[in-house]
Subunit: 278 residues, 2 copies
C-alpha cells in the first residue's frame, strides 16, 4: 500500500518527490544542493548513462532524449522536474517546457540572474559543452536582462571527460584550462558562468587561470533556491518534518554511476537501479 493513500489531495501533492534528470552524473551537483536546501523532500534522479554525453549531440536528438526522460519521471509521479543539465536546459527546454503541466526548472535562468547581478564591468564569460554554446541560449537570456552586457562564450568539451576521469588538478588540466580560457581572460570578463554541471569540480583550476578577482557562477545553488521558491508558491513544500529519501535510476550499468556519484555528490549512493527510458 502506498503511503498517503487516504490523505487529502493537497497533502498527497506535497509528499510527492522532486524529479531530477541529467544525461549522466553531472546533475548530482544539483541534487547535492537540493538535499542541502530542501532536506525534507524526496528526490527521484534519472541519469541517462546509456546515451551520455548529450553535449556533442544535435538539437533534435537532445529534444527527443529529454522528452523520454521527462515521461519516465512522470511515471514516478513527481511534483516538479528539475533539469540538472545545461545542454538540455539550453537546447530542449525552451521548446518542450510548455507542453507539460508539471513545473520544469532548468539550470540556465538562475545562473544568468546571478551573473547579471554579480558583474561590475558588464563583461560576462560563459563556458559549456559545444551544444550549449552553439544554442546561444546564455547570450540570449543575459541580453534580455541587460542588453548593455557583453557576453563572451567558449565551448570547453574536454572538461567533461577530465572530470569523469578524475583529472581535477595537475599540469595537464591546468594547460587545457589555460588554452580554453585565454580568450575570456583577454576579454577581461569579471564573471564566468560555469555552464555545465561538471565544471564546479574544476573550480580551483579555473579560478587559478582566471585569477581570484573573477566571480565563478555555478548554477546548482541558484537552482536549489529556484526550486524552493516554486514549490513554496505552489504550496507544494513537504513539511512533514522527516528527512527526505533519494532514489537513483540510470539507463546503463549502475556501477559506473555509483563510482562517480561520490565525486559529484560528496557521499556514496546505494539505491541505484537500472531502467530503460526508451
Amino acid at each position: 500500500m502506498r503511503a498517503g493513500l487516504y490523505l487529502p489531495r493537497e497533502i498527497k501533492g506535497k509528499m510527492k518527490p522532486i524529479g531530477v534528470f541529467d544525461s549522466g552524473v553531472g546533475g548530482l551537483t544539483v541534487v547535492k544542493e537540493l538535499i542541502s536546501q530542501l532536506p525534507g523532500e524526496d528526490i527521484v534522479y534519472f541519469g541517462d548513462t546509456a546515451r551520455v554525453p548529450y553535449g556533442i549531440k544535435s538539437r533534435e536528438t537532445v529534444i527527443r532524449f529529454s522528452i523520454e526522460n521527462i515521461l519516465l519521471l512522470l511515471k514516478e509521479d513527481v511534483k516538479l522536474i528539475c533539469v540538472a543539465c545545461n545542454t538540455v536546459s539550453s537546447v530542449a527546454l525552451p521548446v518542450i517546457k510548455n507542453h507539460f503541466r508539471v513545473p520544469i526548472v532548468g539550470v540556465l535562468t538562475p545562473a544568468v540572474r546571478e551573473a547579471v547581478y554579480a558583474t561590475q564591468n558588464k563583461r560576462i564569460g560563459v563556458i559549456g559543452t559545444p551544444s550549449t554554446i552553439k544554442s546561444r541560449s546564455y547570450e540570449i537570456q543575459i541580453r534580455e536582462l541587460d542588453p548593455a552586457i557583453k557576453v563572451f562564450t567558449m565551448a570547453t568539451p574536454l572538461f567533461v571527460p577530465f572530470v569523469e576521469e578524475g583529472w581535477l588538478m595537475g599540469k595537464v588540466v591546468l594547460e587545457v584550462a589555460r588554452t580554453y580560457l585565454r580568450p575570456l581572460k583577454d576579454a577581461r570578463v569579471d564573471t564566468l558562468i560555469l555552464g555545465c554541471t561538471h565544471y564546479p569540480l574544476l573550480r580551483p583550476v579555473i579560478q587559478e587561470v582566471l585569477g581570484k578577482q573573477v566571480n565563478l557562477i555555478d548554477s546548482a545553488k541558484q537552482v536549489g533556491m529556484e526550486v524552493k521558491k516554486i514549490l513554496s508558491a505552489e504550496g507544494l513544500l513537504n513539511k512533514n518534518g522527516k528527512k527526505g529519501k533519494a532514489k537513483f535510476y540510470v539507463s546503463d550499468n549502475p556501477e559506473w554511476f555509483r563510482n562517480l556519484a561520490n565525486r559529484f555528490l560528496g557521499r556514496s549512493v546505494k539505491d541505484v537501479s537500472r531502467v530503460s527510458n526508451v
Copy 2:
C-alpha cells in the same frame, strides 16, 4: 528498379555492399583501408552518433546497441559486416557473432595475430577504452595464440575526446600520453596494440613517448586483409571492375559526422544521411 534484378543469384551476392558500423566516426579509419584494399566494393557505413561513445558503457548496453546496428545494416542487404569498433569487437562480438548468418568481422583478431607475429621479447602492450580493457578480450586472444606472451593493458579514455577535438599533438596530449603509457614503458613492451579506432591518429605522440623501437599495431590494415580473405573464400568479391561507392548513415546530426570524417578518412564525405536504429 534495383541494379542486378535479373542477374543470377551468385552475381547479385557479389554486388552487395560491405556493411561497416562503429559507435561514431572512429570506424572510418577502417573504411579508409577497405576503400584502399578493395576499391571495387560498395560500402554502407553506420555510425551510432546519437549514443556515442560506447567505451564507457556496460557490456549489456553495448550488446543491445550492437544487435540494433547489425539489424540496421542487414536491411541494407549487406554481404558481410565489419565491426569497426574495438569496444563492440571485445565486448559484444563473442556473444552475438554466431546468431547471424552473415559473416561478421571484428577488429580484434587481425590485430592480435599481427602483434603476436611482431613481438620479439614476448611482451605486448594493449591500450583501449575502459570497456575494452575490462573485457580482457585482447589478453585472452593473445594467450590463445601464445601462452608464453606477457600482456600489459591500460585504459586510456581521454585519448578519444582528444582525437575528436582535434588535439593530436602538443604538450598537453604528450603529457597525457606519458602518464598513461608510463607503466607500459616500464614493462618494456616491444609491441603495442592501438586497441581503439581513434588511436592511429595519435600514432606520432604515442611513438614519441614509447620510442621508435616499439611496434605500434593498428588493426585497420589487418582488418582490410581479413575482409578480403573472407570475401574471396566465399566467392563474394565484386569483380565488375567499377569503382565502389560509399554511403554513410548516422543516428544523429550528419553535420558533426561530416566535420570529423575528413580527419579520419582523409577525404570529405558527402552522402551522409540520418537514420534511426531503434
